[in-house]
């Protein structure tokens, strides 16, 4: 800030600088936003009578969390939950194993250009397609059951993990990798001793995070027939058995919390 500007400011009260500095842009954004809001709210039809009637049922649901019913549908809950866990474990293992080579291929500083383009293409496709849409297509192709869910989760894991792994490899320290290469290492040894130790902590952390996501996703795949707890949950909602639904939701939340805690411990150990 120059002397003149400082002199001009003397004797005037200080005002907070705006977040967006250009005045016309700020007003344009503000007006555009207001116009959009009006249009959006106008086009949403809300049947307030129906909402008011539903509040009672909503309150029932909230209350059912205080008395979840684990017992009367326990065999359904247990088989659904087991299927979800099985799908999560199998899909995470396969997904992680496949995403490592694809992640290596999608890192520009390791892979030659053709490999890079192919691997990036796989990552882009996998990331752009929603899990639930993939599940619908795979159920249509492979039939109902956990195999479709397993394939869906593996496919989604590849996109997520390969992209982040590739970004991590691209950001690694070149010096270490070059030192290994200078000692006359073959390609595999170079990856194993020069690249892998640098990205391993992050890979483990991301894998744990992905297991967590896979479990949460496996809870909804049942809605389209791809196995897991989702089918049981959907039935419970359809039959207005809120106690059972609350029990399932509590189990899901509990498992997710346990997984997060576990992944926190593992990540702290690895790093």
């Amino acid at each position: 800030m120059s002397h003149r500007e400082l002199d001009d400011m003397l004797g005037k009260g200080w005002r907070k600088p705006h977040f967006i500095k250009r005045t016309w842009l700020r007003w344009l954004l503000l007006f555009g936003f207001a116009a959009y809001m009006v249009a959006a709210v106008m086009t949403i039809e809300v049947d307030w009578g129906r909402v008011y009637e539903g509040l009672d049922r909503g309150w029932q649901f909230v209350l059912s969390f205080t008395r979840p019913d684990f017992i009367s549908r326990w065999s359904d809950i247990w088989s659904g939950l087991l299927e979800s866990i099985v799908m999560t474990v199998a899909a995470s293992v396969v997904g992680i194993l496949i995403s490592i080579p694809i992640g290596l291929g999608a890192a520009r500083n390791i892979a030659p250009l053709p490999v890079y383009v192919i691997c990036r293409g796989i990552v882009a496709i996998s990331r752009a397609l929603q899990e639930i849409i993939v599940a619908i297509l795979l159920v249509a192709i492979f039939g109902f059951g956990p195999l479709a869910g397993f394939l869906t989760l593996s496919f989604a894991t590849i996109g997520f993990l390969s992209k982040l792994l590739a970004e991590d490899i691209e950001a690694m320290d070149r010096v270490q990798a070059e030192a290994i290469r200078a000692s006359g290492a073959r390609w595999m040894q170079w990856i194993n001793y020069g690249v892998q130790p640098q990205v391993m902590p992050r890979l483990v952390g991301l894998s744990m995070y992905r297991i967590d996501i896979n479990f949460r996703e496996s809870a909804i795949l049942g809605l389209v027939g791809a196995g897991g707890i989702g089918a049981t949950l959907n039935t419970a909602f359809d039959r207005y058995e809120y106690d059972t639904a609350a029990a399932i939701l509590i189990l899901i939340i509990g498992i997710v919390m346990a997984l997060e805690y576990l992944s926190g411990i593992i990540r702290a150990r690895v790093q």
Partner: protein, 271 residues
């Protein structure tokens, strides 16, 4: 340094014998778990359908191509609804996430013993349940429609936004807060001039990031009846109108790519 004695010379190794034994056992257990899981999946799979899958996939492909382009005239309103679900849901979520985040951050919470755990519980429970499940629940409570979708997206996003935001609040520079406090500012003034300017860029980034995710999620909310383009997808799937399905999938793909592009641009401009 772990070494291996061989013909009187010492050869460098990466791990000691004990370490490699532990690792070996870890791998063994992991492989065993995976095999058990795979068997479970395999048992509940009709393998005939799987061997038949390439033919079915080819069949669906021939049915789905070419997409029925003229159907796009009916998709305008659903796309608008999808956009509204994502945007309004994100806005509502942000309004609710801000107080939760301030209550959950260690340096701003009024009581670390009582209020912080409650805030953390809100974050975990809203985050670990997928928006489709929230939508299912809300449809049972307030009836099907766009409004249920908006509320489902809003609830699902609270946890995500609040978690990222409270981590940002915990990482702020404390000297600035102290400087504002030293001028005799009240608690709210410290908040407005010491803390908010520091987290505003993070806040904007989180908002856009979550909006991008919400566009993806709101495209499939219609599958359970919560409005948006998913409703068209589900009805087309139900009548096996594959040319319409392929067109809707293309539209969803385009929406996802565009929203990701917008979000990347905006985040690039902010940070």
């Amino acid at each position: 340094m772990p070494v291996l004695e061989r013909e009187g010379t010492q050869v460098w190794r990466r791990r000691t014998t004990g370490e490699s034994m532990v690792r070996w056992f870890g791998w063994l257990i992991g492989v065993a778990v995976f095999v058990v899981c795979w068997q479970q999946i395999s048992q509940s799979t009709t393998w005939f359908f799987v061997w038949d899958a390439p033919r079915i996939a080819g069949d669906i492909w021939t049915r789905a191509t070419p997409p029925r382009w003229e159907y796009i005239s009916k998709l305008g309103r659903p796309i608008w609804d999808t956009l509204n679900i994502a945007t309004l849901g994100t806005l509502i979520a942000l309004c609710m996430a801000v107080p939760v985040a301030f209550l959950a951050a260690r340096n701003t919470t009024p009581s670390a013993l009582f209020i912080r755990p409650v805030a953390l519980l809100i974050i975990v429970s809203t985050r670990s349940i997928n928006s489709l499940i929230w939508a299912l629940l809300l449809i049972a409570i307030i009836g099907p429609g766009v409004f249920a979708g908006v509320v489902a997206i809003a609830i699902r996003s609270i946890g995500f936004c609040a978690k990222l935001l409270y981590e940002a609040i915990e990482e702020i520079d404390h000297t600035q807060v102290e400087a504002i406090t030293a001028t005799g500012a009240s608690r709210w003034q410290v908040m407005a001039y010491g803390i908010v300017p520091q987290i505003l860029p993070a806040f904007a980034g989180i908002a856009v990031f979550r909006w991008d995710i919400n566009i993806r999620e709101s495209t499939v909310l219609g599958l359970v009846g919560a409005g948006g383009i998913g409703l068209q997808l589900s009805s087309s799937l139900n009548v096996l109108a594959w040319p319409q399905v392929s067109l809707i999938l293309l539209v969803i793909l385009a929406a996802v790519v565009i929203s990701e592009w917008v979000s990347a641009k905006v985040r690039g401009a902010i940070i």
